[in-house]
């Protein structure tokens, strides 16, 4: 005997599995006292150059490491390894974004207490990474001056999911007639109050202010942990 169709309430978060792993990772980072920072951007906006510069500048004073996601090739890991910091490539195959489980697997065997900063470079993509929490403390979204000032308006979801915006390749700004005021206005429209840094990994412009911010965030997060113990 069949009955009439009926509606049953369920209430289940589709990304729960990812969110549970991300929460566990965030707790693990907190316990170890490491500040985890992820980078998202479109392909070619200078994530790897920015990260290489960051690792090189931080390496003498801090214990730093990086995970880098790409669909294929170990090229980025090889570039970042020049900074002398431990680097691990995550190959995603056909997957267009990193997920929390990939971070968990990549960190297998790592002693996080031996680190001050962990950087996670996402796959170059301004769409898919926005849905996936990786357990990071801070998410940076990068926008290069060559991409156009309206990128935040075209991809509001990813800008909204990030904590900090970084305008990269500032050494090329004049050549491409980059309208900085418009870019800043667009960033603030999709994420009011967002912190913005303007840098050039090539000339080093703006890197000092950004590194100071990172150090400050690490100090704050460690103070919060200490206070809660």
């Amino acid at each position: 005997m069949t009955t009439e169709p009926r509606l049953v309430e369920v209430r289940r978060n589709v990304l729960k599995q990812n969110d549970v792993i991300a929460r566990a990772l965030r707790e693990r980072f907190r316990e170890a006292g490491v500040l985890a920072v992820s980078l998202v951007s479109s392909p070619g906006s200078g994530k790897t150059a920015f990260l290489e510069k960051t690792l090189t500048l931080l390496h003498p004073c801090y214990r730093v490491a990086a995970l880098v996601g790409d669909l294929a090739t170990e090229n980025d890991a090889a570039r970042l390894a020049r900074s002398q910091a431990p680097v691990k490539q995550i190959l995603t195959g056909t997957v267009c974004h990193l997920e929390a489980a990939m971070i968990q697997n990549a960190l297998d065997g790592w002693d996080l207490t031996q680190l001050d900063f962990l950087f996670i470079e996402n796959v170059g993509n301004l769409v898919c990474p926005s849905s996936y929490d990786l357990g990071e403390d801070l998410r940076f979204v990068l926008l290069s001056v060559t991409e156009g000032e309206d990128k935040p308006l075209k991809y509001p979801t990813i800008f909204n999911s990030a904590d900090v915006a970084v305008i990269t390749k500032s050494d090329l700004a004049a050549a491409v007639e980059f309208d900085e005021a418009a870019a800043l206005r667009n960033i603030q429209a999709v994420r009011p109050g967002m912190e913005v840094f303007k840098i050039s990994a090539k000339t080093g412009e703006g890197m000092a202010e950004y590194l100071e911010y990172l150090e400050h965030r690490r100090t704050c997060s460690r103070a919060t942990i200490a206070a809660s113990k």
Binding site: L7, E9, P192
Partner: protein, 115 residues
Amino acid sequence: MHELSIAMSIVEMAQEESDRRGHAQVLAVHLRLGRLSGVVKEALLSSYEMACEATPLEGSRLSIEEIPVEVFCPKCDCPRAISSIQWFCCPDCGTPTPTLLHGKELEVVALEIKE
């Protein structure tokens, strides 16, 4: 394009719920989808059809309720729905606000089943 893997998670979830209810036939899955979830409705609908193929859910329907973005306006001291995700400010007084109340939803809320 991550909608296919999300559609597969939805199908898997619906199947688990159906199994818990004596393998009831699933006619429809009801989903709440926030406009800031990072998931595109049209892409999810076609991915859902693909994800259902050769599973007990083949032929079932995905019913999507789109959830608008709601922010908290500190000046009006109350929740406000915004009409554009390119402009995070109160539609009444114009105060910019990053405080998000709704819009990131991606959840299965109900199943239409036949036992």
